[in-house]
């Protein structure tokens, strides 16, 4: 691929207001290619706003967001970036297959992609069920599959594991890993700290500020904490002490 040297995402001095509150007061970060990058932090910390800015659906007040070498939201990016919103944004009154067929048509993916992804997200038994008759976990897997059609180079996943049981969560993280091994870049947000160990790199976001941008091991070494959650608390205390 010709742009392989370009990072997946470069955010530079991004300012975003929601209402009168500045949710992101000038954040800068880089997401390298081919990695699973975890965006962790408490609820209300600006994770979704940051992800929406990277997709290019968020009105931003200042700064730049460059995705795969192009400005975020460029027409050329729309089939190269997959986006899974926090709530399963798929059509409840359509079957699993009808949903995926439509999203595949939008990005020009072959129909074989639909069958492949139904297997990938393990919904073979429910493929002809209406999505609103499925469980929450199944619905979020339909939403994930809808983002995977056309094999996007960058996947933005907003809390994809939030309503899932531990077994499914394990399976999904295994899927993320295998996608990254094939060269896909994944930016996954979560407020569950124990998911940090499954990432190649961690971004800790709190109140719109980046507390850390490090590998899981680097983070633990730097803070001397036994796990990501403790490391996070250590960083907060350190910041508040300054």
């Amino acid at each position: 691929m010709m742009n392989d040297q370009v990072p997946a995402v470069v955010v530079d001095d991004l300012h975003v207001f929601r209402g009168s509150r500045e949710v992101l007061p000038g954040i800068s970060l880089t997401v390298p290619r081919g990695q699973v990058v975890g965006l962790l932090g408490p609820n209300g910390g600006g994770k979704t706003t940051l992800l929406r800015s990277i997709i290019g659906v968020q009105i931003v007040a200042g700064g730049t967001v460059t995705v795969l070498g192009e400005p975020a939201g460029s027409p050329g990016l729309r089939s190269r970036v997959g986006y899974v919103t926090q709530d399963a944004s798929v059509y409840g009154d359509l079957t699993v297959r009808a949903n995926l067929t439509y999203f595949a048509a939008l990005v020009g993916a072959p129909r074989s992609d639909v069958e492949r992804l139904i297997e990938v997200v393990d919904l073979t038994a429910d493929v002809d069920s209406r999505v609103d008759r499925l469980s929450g976990g199944q619905r979020s897997r339909v939403s994930l599959a809808a983002a995977l059609v056309g094999s996007p180079e960058l996947l933005i996943l907003d809390e994809p594991t939030v309503a899932l049981d531990p077994l499914l969560r394990r399976d999904l993280w295994a899927l993320f890993r295998s996608l990254a091994d094939e060269g896909t870049t994944l930016l996954v947000s979560s407020h569950v700290m124990d998911e940090a160990t499954r990432c190649d790199r961690l971004l800790l976001l709190r109140e719109g500020r980046l507390l850390a941008d490090d590998s899981p091991d680097g983070l633990l070494a730097r803070t001397g904490a036994p796990n990501a959650e403790q490391a996070f608390f250590t960083l907060i205390e350190k910041e508040e002490a300054v």
Partner: protein, 244 residues
């Protein structure tokens, strides 16, 4: 705009409608039931022949308005619209897909309602019956287009339904069904001149009374069609890729 994406969207909307049997039955049956009641009310008098056609133009407009505004609002509030606009789908494809799907349904609805009015209720008009269908379909598409536009200003489905009395009833009062438009107080007559439903009803009135109605009806249909284009264009301005 891409024809492929527009058609894919129209297909998806039709699949959603097909899954909703109750809505389909209501859309097709309600105009027929209302026309039947109207014919029954005026049974034995010549009144139905003079008001039947104008009502035939109003019912599809109202039904399509409500259905379209709620359907697009649902798309906006469920997050699917945001997702769609992050894909290669253009705004024109989105609106075009909805307009095509609901337009196709409007054709079916108008055909059934017109057939019912003529053959079951015994509606007799001076002008050609085929034009009756043309006007009814145009009115239904007008309902779809204004519904698409208005859904942008509703945040909840409650509000969307409230737009029906706010948006449709004034047009209904002023369109010439209750009193001929030139007999209205001057200010209201001027208001009725800029409302699309007035021209829809004018066309139906002409059909009721004139055998060689094609010219006048053609002009009125063209006016209604330009309202449709304006509503779709205005609707596309309300679709924003980037939101706060």
């Amino acid at each position: 705009m891409s024809p492929r994406l527009t058609l894919a969207t129209a297909r998806r909307v039709l699949l959603q409608l097909r899954a909703d049997h109750r809505t389909l039955v209501l859309m097709i049956a309600v105009p027929c039931v209302l026309l039947g009641m109207l014919a029954w009310i005026f049974d034995g008098t010549p009144v139905f022949d003079s008001v039947g056609a104008p009502f035939l133009g109003v019912f599809p407009f109202v039904v399509m308005f409500v259905i379209t505004s709620v359907a697009t609002l649902r798309e906006r509030s469920s997050g699917t619209l945001e997702r769609l606009l992050s894909t290669p789908l253009g705004k024109g494809d989105f609106l075009g897909g909805y307009a095509l799907a609901f337009g196709a349904l409007a054709v079916v609805q108008a055909l059934v309602a017109t057939g019912f009015a003529i053959w079951v209720c015994g509606l007799d008009v001076a002008g050609p019956r085929s034009l009756l269908v043309v006007v009814a379909v145009t009115d239904a598409v007008l309902g779809t287009a204004t519904g698409l536009f208005v859904s942008a200003f509703a945040r909840t489905e409650f509000q969307a339904v409230q737009f029906m009395p706010a948006f449709v009833f004034p047009q209904f009062l002023l369109c010439g069904l209750l009193l001929p438009r030139d007999a209205l107080p001057r200010a209201l007559e001027l208001a009725s001149d800029v409302l699309p439903l007035s021209y829809a009803v004018d066309a139906m009135r002409t059909l009721t009374t004139q055998a060689d109605a094609a010219g006048d009806v053609g002009r009125d249909v063209a006016i209604v069609a330009s309202f449709v284009v304006a509503a779709v264009a205005a609707g596309s301005l309300t679709l924003r890729r980037r939101t706060p």
